[in-house]
Symmetry: C2
Subunit: 825 residues, 2 copies
C-alpha cells in the first residue's frame, strides 16, 4: 500500500515534468499570440492534468458544454414558441388573421432554417445519427465535424423546433455532441500531444454521441446505451465509462441550470410521473402490455417504410426537374404550411390538440388521471395543458385517434426535410398517444381494475402511455435502451418490466420487417455501412468468404511494367492495390496506394526528363516551348491545370509521405480523379496526364507538322519507357494489409470488419492472393443471407452445407506443400 | 413490403426443410435411444424454430432455468436460516446451549459445503467471476463448465448462504449462468447444428453471465451492464441484446414466482423504497453525497487490499506445511466458528445486529424513518427487523459503526474460503450501513433539513444508505453499473444523480489505488489475463511494440534440419512456433504447432523404419526386439506408455488433423508434456522420445554389450537423420498468424489483443520476423506504463517521445526496398 503510494507520487511528478516540458515547447512554438494568457492557462491546466489526468478535464468540459447548449437551446425554443402563441393571441379578433399569424410565423422560421442550413453547411441537415454511424465506422465524411456545421446545426435546429414542426432534437444532438468532442479534441491538442492520436479522438467522438443524448433528455444511462446501440456494432467498455462519466456530468448540469434559474426547486426527472408504487400493475395486465408492444412493433416498421417511400418519391420528383422540388426553401415552406394549416387550433387542430407543443402533449399523456372516467375531461381547466383534449364535438378517444394518425404521417414527412431534425421525440409523442388510447380503452372496459380479489386497483392509462412511447420508439430505432431512457425521463422504475417486455416484443417485430430508421436513411443516402447480423440468421455461420469474394482482383506484381500500372490506374478506381510477388506465384506481399503508383509512373517519366538523354532533350524542350507558345485554348487550360497539379515536383518524397490512413479518408482526392469519365480519360495520352501538352486538334498555326513530329517522338519514347520494369525501391508499401483465408465464415468476417473498421480485406490461400472482399461484397452477402431477396448475392447454402460436413473439420488450416510448390516455381 | 413478406416466408420454408433434414440425420444417428420421445421433441422444436428462430427459444429457456434456480435457492436458503432461528429459539433457556446451537449449525453447514465442493468439483469454489473473465478471454479452463460443477456450486452455495456467512450469491450466479448457457448449448446442438459453433457458444456464455446477475437481483438492465463491465474489455452489441432479452425474461419469471407462490401481491422491486419523489434531495446535499462516494472509494480499495493480504497469508501458511491449513474443512470450520461466535446475538452480536440476515439488514438500512430522531429507535417493535438496532447500552451510531467495522474484515476473510462465495452482496450491506451512518449523522446535524428557504425537507438517511451501498460496491468491483443495479433493486430513480456521482467518484479513487477485486483474484490465482487500460494513462499511446516485444524468438526455417527442430522442442515450451523462409531473410511464412513438429520428427524416424534400408533394418529389429525382451522396469513402463501414445501410427494425417484452435485451448495437452522437467527431458535420447527404448542403466543381463552396440548404431543413424533438411510437405501451417508492425502502439496492441482474443502475435518489419509479443509481455508493458513499479517492464518513455516527434508521421508504413533487399539476398 505504502509502496504503491510512493509510486503514484513519482508517476505524478514525472508526468508533471513531461507536461511542463511540453508546455514549454508549445510556448516557444506559439510565441506570437497571447503569451501571457496562454502561460496562465497552461499553468492551470498543468495543475489539473497532474491531479486527475487530462481525460477527466475533457469529459467534464464536454459534459458542461453540451449541457449549456441544450439548456440555452431549450430557452430559445421556448421563447420562439411563446412568441408564436403571443402573436396568435394578439390577432385573436379575426380568425383569418389568426390563421395567417399561426401559419406564416412557422413558415418564416422554417424558411430561415432551411436557408441557413443550405448556405452555411449543408452537412447540418438531417438527423445526423446515420452519418455519425458512418463516421464511427472509420469513414471520414468531409466537413462533417467542423465549427461551421455546429453553428448551422444549432441555429437551424432552434428555428425548426421554434416553428413547432413535429421533429425532435435528439438526433441533431448526437451530431452536435460529436462535433463538440471533435472540436474539444482539437483544442486540447494545443496542450497535450495525446489529443493528436486519431484513434483516441474517434473514441472521444463516441463519447460525444453519448453526451448528446444524455444532455438532451437528462438521461445519462439511457443516453450512453442508446448511443452505443445506434452507433456501434462493437464497443469498448472503456468508452462506455467515458460516456457515462461525461453524460452524467452533462445531465447533472443540464438539470442543475433550471434550478439555478429558479425554474425548478430541485433536480427531478424531465417528465416526472407519480403513479402508485405499491401496486403498479396487475399481472393480468402483462398481456395487454405485450400486445401494445407488438402493435408498436408493426407501427414502427410502417413508420420506417412510410418515411422511406416519401424520401424516394421526393428524390424522384427532384430528378424529374421540377422547379418546385429544386428549391429547398419552397419544399420546406410548403410542408410547413401544410402541417401548420392542419394544426391550426380553431380549425382542424381542435380535433388533434393542435395548440399543444410536443412537451405539453407528453406531459398531458403521462397524466395521473383517467380521462375516460365520467366528468374528468369536463373538469380540465381552460389554462391547463389538458384543455386541448376537451372537445365539444368529439370524445377523447376520437381526438386521440386523430392525433395519432395525423402526427404519424406528419412526422414521417417532416424528417425528410433538408433541415436538422430528429425522429426520436415525435415518435415518442405518437407512441405515448397510442399508449394512452389503449390505456383509456382498457380503463373504460374495466372501470374497477382487472384484479377483483384483494382490493380495487384501477388501471393507470398514463402507464400505458409510458410503455407505448418506449415501445414505438424502440420499434423505429431498433434499440432496447429506449426503455432505460423512458424510465429516466419519467423518474419511475415501477413499470420497468412492462416497458422492457413491450420494448423487446416491439423490437422483435420491427427488426424482422424493416431496417431501423437510421439504417434506412443510410441505405437511401448510400453511405458506406455494414448491416448488423440480426437474430436467428443461422446461415451466416455456414457461408464462407470464398462464396462472396470477388475473384477478379487487380494487382501489381513486382515484375510488372509501367504499362501494366498505367492500365491499372486507367481502368480501376480502387484506392489501394495489392502487390504480389509475381503473376505466377501470386504470393501477396502487401498493398500499395493508388497515389503511390501514380507518383511512380510520373517519376519514371520525370526522372529521365531531369537527366537528359539524347532524345529526351528535344522532348523536354518541345514540352516547355509548347506551353510557352500558349497554343492551347480555354477548354484545355482546365485540363492543363489538373496536369500541372499532378506534375508538381516531388523528387524525394512521392505524393503521400504521411502515414497510410484508412483508404476511404482519401475519398476527396479520389473523387476528383474519378469525376472525369473513364472513356474520356483513356483517350488522353500518357504524357498528357503529367506534362502539359496541347492536344493535336488544337494546334492552329503552321508549326503543326513540327508539333506532330515531336509528339510522335514523345509517344515512341513513352512506349519505350512503359515497357520497363517498375522500380519499387522508393515506394511505401503497407506490409500487412488485412488478410482472410478462404474458409473464414461470414460471421467471422463480419466480426473482423466491424471490430477493426476495415474497408477491404484480401483473401489468400496459402499466401496466394485469390480474391478481395470489400464492405460492398460483405454487405451484399449479409443481405443475401438475411433476406435472400433479389438484391442480395445469390449464395450457395446447399454447397456450403456440403462443404461444412465434408471438410468442415479442416477449418482455416492449409497445407504447406502447396505453398512450397508456388515458392519454388 | 409485400415482397419482403414473401421472402420471409420462403426463408422460413427453406429453414424448415434444413431443420427437418438435420433432424432426420440426428434421427438416424441416435436410433437407439428414445426414438419416439425425440421424434416428438423434434417436431415441437421444428415448430418453434421455424416461427421465431432458435435464438429466442434458447434465450427464454436460459432465462427460465436461471430464474427457477435463483428462486429455489432463495427458498432453500430461507428454510435453512429459518431452521437456524428455530433451533436457536428452542434452546432458549440456556445461553450456553443457545451458543452451541448458533455456532455448530453454521459450522456443520460450512463443513458440508467445503467438503462437497472439494469432493465433487473443486472448480466450484470461489466467486467465479475472475474465472469467467478468463474463459471469455478465450482460455479454456478445464472442467469449468460441466454439470458436475453446476451441482457442486448450487448445493454448496445453498449451504454457505444458509450458514449465514457474510458472502453473496451474485458471483456464483455469474458462474452458474455460464454453466447453464454452456449446457443448454450442448443440449440445443442435438437439434440445431448452429450450436456446434464455438464462437457462437462463447457469445451465449456471455449471455449466461448477464442472466445470472439479472436473476439474482431481479435487475435485468443492471445485470447486463454489470456482466459486460466485469467480463469484457470489448463487446458485441448483439450480445447485449441477447443478454437483455434473456435476463428480462429471467427477472420477470424470478419476480413472478413469488407472486404465484402467494408471497407477494404483484411484481415490485426486490428491496422497494418509498422515499419522497417531489423533492428527493436538496442541491446542497450533493457535496455530502460526493464525499460519501470518495470515502467509499478509499474503503473499496482497502477492502481489495485486505482481501489480497489475507489470501496471501493463507497461501503462505498452507505452503509452510501447517496441518491446520492443509485441511480445507478445518480452515472453513474455524472461520465459521469465529464469525458466528462474534455474531452470537446475546453476546457481542448485540452490538452489531448479529441476528439479522443480509436481507433483513438491507431492508432495515433502506428504512424510511430517521433513526437519529428522538424516540424513534425506542419505538421499534421487538419482532421488527429494526429491533436489532435497539441496544440498551449503546446508541444507534455506535452499533452502526461496529457493524461496519466487523462486517468489513469478516467479509474480506469469508470470500477467501474454498467455497462458492460472492463479494457483491456483503459489500453492498457494508456500504449501506456506512451510508446510513453518514445519513443519520447529517440528519442529527441538520434536524430541520439543509434547505431553510421554501419549506422543510428533512434529510432522508435511507437515501444515503442507497448511495453508500452503490458507491462501496462500485469501489470494489470497479463498475458503474452498480448504480443501475441499485436503482432497479430499490425501484426508485429519484436519487439517480447522487448515486451516479458517488459511483463515479468512488471508481476514480478506487481505480487509481488498487485493481478490482476480480483482477486482484486473477493476479493471485495467476490466471492468464489482460489488465484494462485505465483512465488518463497517456504513455500507452507513445509506447510501441518494439519497446516491449521479446526479440529472441525461437523459429523454424524452411531449410532447418531435424536437429534444429529437436533442439527447439527440447528447450522451449511454446505451443506454436513461427516458420520463416530462411535464417538470413527471416521472412515470416506462417506458424506451426508444436505437436506438428513433434509429429514431423517422429515421422522422419518412422518413415525409414517402415521402408527398410540396409542400415535401418538392424536398428528397427533392435528397436522391436528390445521391447519384446521386456527389459524395462516399472519406472520405464510409464515413460513407455507416453512413448507409445506418441508413436501411434498416423501415416496420412499428422497428430492434429483438426482445425487449429486457439493455442491456449491445448493447455491440458501441453501441460502433460511440460510436466516433465526440462533437464530430465534433455537427458533422454531422441529415439527414446518416440520408440520405447530402455535406458542403458536399466539393462541387467549380459546382452549388455550387444545392446550397447545397437544403441551406438542407433545413435549414429539418428545423428545422420538429424542432419537432413526438414520436409514440410505434409505439415499444416497456419498461413496467417497475427502480425504486428514494430511501430504499433501499446494502445493499439491492447485493442487488437482484446478484440481478437489473441494469445501471441509476431512482430514483423517489412515481412521479417523481429520479435514476438505474448499476453505476458503485453501485461507487463501495461503494468509498467500504468504503475512504473518494480514489477513492470522498464519502458523508455523519453526515447518513445523522441521517436514520436522524429518519425511519428511515418507511422506503421515501411519502405519496400528494404523488403526487396531481403528478398534478393
Amino acid at each position: 500500500m505504502a509502496e504503491d503510494g510512493t509510486d503514484q507520487r513519482e508517476q505524478t511528478l514525472t508526468r508533471d515534468d513531461s507536461i511542463y516540458k511540453h508546455s514549454q515547447n508549445v510556448h516557444k512554438y506559439e510565441k506570437g499570440r497571447g503569451l501571457k494568457c496562454r502561460s496562465w492557462l497552461l499553468h492551470c491546466l498543468r495543475f489539473f492534468t497532474s491531479g486527475f489526468g487530462a481525460d477527466w478535464i475533457f469529459l467534464m468540459l464536454l459534459g458542461f458544454v453540451m449541457a449549456l447548449i441544450s439548456f440555452l437551446m431549450d430557452i430559445f425554443v421556448f421563447l420562439f414558441i411563446d412568441a408564436h402563441r403571443w402573436i396568435y393571441h394578439v390577432s385573436g379578433t379575426n380568425v383569418f388573421l389568426q390563421y395567417l399569424a399561426w401559419v406564416i410565423y412557422s413558415a418564416i422560421l422554417m424558411c430561415f432554417a432551411a436557408g441557413f442550413t443550405n448556405v452555411v453547411a449543408i452537412q447540418a441537415a438531417g438527423s445526423g445519427i446515420p452519418e455519425m454511424k458512418t463516421v464511427l465506422r472509420g469513414v471520414v465524411l468531409k466537413e462533417y465535424l467542423t465549427f461551421k456545421t455546429l453553428v448551422a446545426k444549432v441555429i437551424s435546429l432552434i428555428c425548426v423546433l421554434g416553428s413547432e414542426l413535429p421533429v425532435g432534437k435528439e438526433g441533431p444532438f448526437v451530431h452536435i455532441g460529436s462535433i463538440c468532442a471533435a472540436l474539444l479534441c482539437k483544442f486540447m491538442s494545443l496542450f497535450s500531444s495525446i489529443y493528436k492520436n486519431e484513434l483516441r479522438n474517434l473514441e472521444m467522438i463516441t463519447t460525444g454521441c453519448a453526451v448528446g443524448i444524455g444532455c438532451c433528455f437528462g438521461a445519462p444511462i439511457g443516453g450512453v446505451l442508446f448511443s452505443i446501440e445506434v452507433t456501434s456494432t462493437f464497443f469498448v467498455v472503456r468508452n462506455y465509462w467515458r460516456g457515462l462519466v461525461s453524460s452524467t456530468f452533462g445531465a447533472f448540469i443540464f438539470r442543475l441550470l433550471p434550478v439555478w434559474n429558479k425554474e425548478e426547486e430541485t433536480i427531478v426527472a424531465l417528465y416526472p410521473t407519480k403513479y402508485r408504487q405499491d401496486f403498479p400493475f396487475d399481472l393480468q395486465e402483462i398481456p395487454a402490455f405485450a400486445l401494445l408492444g407488438i402493435a408498436c412493433g408493426f407501427g414502427g416498421a410502417f413508420f420506417v417504410y412510410l418515411n422511406g417511400q416519401i424520401t424516394r418519391t421526393v428524390k424522384k420528383l427532384k430528378t424529374s426537374n421540377n422547379f418546385l422540388m429544386k428549391n429547398c426553401f419552397l419544399y420546406s415552406c410548403l410542408v410547413s404550411l401544410l402541417i401548420s394549416t392542419l394544426t391550426f387550433p380553431p380549425g382542424f387542430g381542435q380535433f388533434m390538440a393542435g395548440q399543444l407543443t410536443q412537451r405539453d402533449s407528453l406531459i398531458s399523456f403521462f397524466d395521473n388521471r383517467t380521462w375516460a372516467k365520467e366528468g374528468i375531461v369536463q373538469d380540465f381547466a381552460d389554462d391547463d395543458h389538458l384543455a386541448a383534449w376537451k372537445n365539444p364535438h368529439a370524445n377523447v378517444f376520437i381526438v386521440l385517434a386523430i392525433f395519432v394518425a395525423m402526427k404519424f404521417w406528419m412526422s414521417a414527412l417532416s424528417i425528410t426535410l433538408p433541415i436538422p431534425c430528429g425522429s426520436f421525440v415525435p415518435v415518442f409523442v405518437i407512441g405515448a398517444a397510442f399508449g394512452r388510447l389503449v390505456g383509456e380503452g382498457l380503463a373504460m372496459w374495466f372501470p374497477e381494475g382487472i384484479n377483483s380479489e384483494d382490493g380495487i386497483y384501477p388501471i393507470v392509462p398514463g402507464a400505458y402511455a409510458v410503455v407505448g412511447a418506449a415501445a414505438l420508439t424502440a420499434g423505429i430505432t431498433h434499440t432496447f435502451s429506449t426503455a432505460v431512457i423512458m424510465m429516466e425521463l419519467t423518474g419511475q422504475l415501477s413499470y420497468s418490466l412492462p416497458i422492457l417486455i413491450a420494448v423487446i416484443l416491439s423490437n422483435m417485430i420491427a427488426q424482422s420487417l424493416q431496417p431501423s430508421i437510421y439504417d434506412s436513411i443510410i441505405r437511401i443516402k448510400k453511405l458506406p455501412y455494414l448491416p448488423e447480423l440480426g437474430f436467428g440468421h443461422q446461415d451466416k455461420y455456414n457461408v464462407h468468404v470464398e462464396d462472396f469474394m470477388v475473384g477478379d482482383v487487380r494487382y501489381v506484381s513486382l515484375n510488372s511494367t509501367y504499362r501494366k500500372i498505367h492500365e491499372i490506374l486507367r481502368t480501376g478506381n480502387h484506392k489501394t492495390l495489392p502487390v504480389v510477388k509475381s503473376t505466377e506465384s501470386m504470393i501477396l506481399l502487401g498493398s500499395i496506394e493508388r497515389a503511390q503508383l501514380h507518383a511512380l509512373l510520373k517519376q519514371q517519366l520525370q526522372h529521365l526528363q531531369e537527366h537528359p538523354q539524347p532524345e529526351r532533350k528535344r522532348v523536354s524542350v518541345a514540352g516547355t516551348t509548347s506551353i510557352k507558345e500558349g497554343v492551347h485554348k480555354v477548354t484545355h487550360e482546365v485540363r492543363f491545370q489538373i496536369s500541372t497539379e499532378d506534375s508538381s515536383p516531388t523528387p524525394a518524397h512521392p505524393v503521400s509521405s504521411g502515414p497510410l490512413k484508412p483508404a476511404l479518408k482519401r475519398s476527396s482526392v479520389a473523387k476528383t480523379s474519378t469525376d472525369i469519365p473513364a472513356d474520356d480519360d483513356s483517350s488522353i495520352g500518357l504524357t498528357n496526364m503529367f506534362f502539359a501538352r496541347p492536344q493535336t486538334d488544337t494546334v492552329e498555326d503552321d508549326s503543326d507538322a513540327e508539333e506532330n513530329r515531336i509528339l510522335c517522338k514523345i509517344e515512341e519514347w513513352e512506349e519505350q519507357q512503359l515497357d520497363e520494369q517498375v522500380n519499387f525501391n522508393n515506394c511505401k508499401i503497407d506490409p500487412a494489409p488485412f488478410q482472410l483465408v478462404e474458409h473464414t465464415s461470414l460471421h467471422k468476417t463480419h466480426t473482423v470488419f466491424s471490430l477493426l473498421g476495415l474497408e477491404r480485406a484480401y483473401v489468400t490461400s496459402i499466401g496466394r492472393l485469390i480474391g478481395v472482399v470489400s464492405l460492398k461484397e460483405l454487405r451484399k452477402a449479409i443481405e443475401g443471407s438475411t433476406m435472400k431477396g433479389p438484391k442480395g448475392v445469390q449464395l450457395r447454402p446447399s454447397l456450403a452445407r456440403l462443404r461444412d460436413t465434408a471438410n468442415g473439420s479442416r477449418g482455416e488450416d492449409t497445407e504447406l506443400h502447396k505453398l512450397l510448390d508456388h515458392q519454388t516455381s
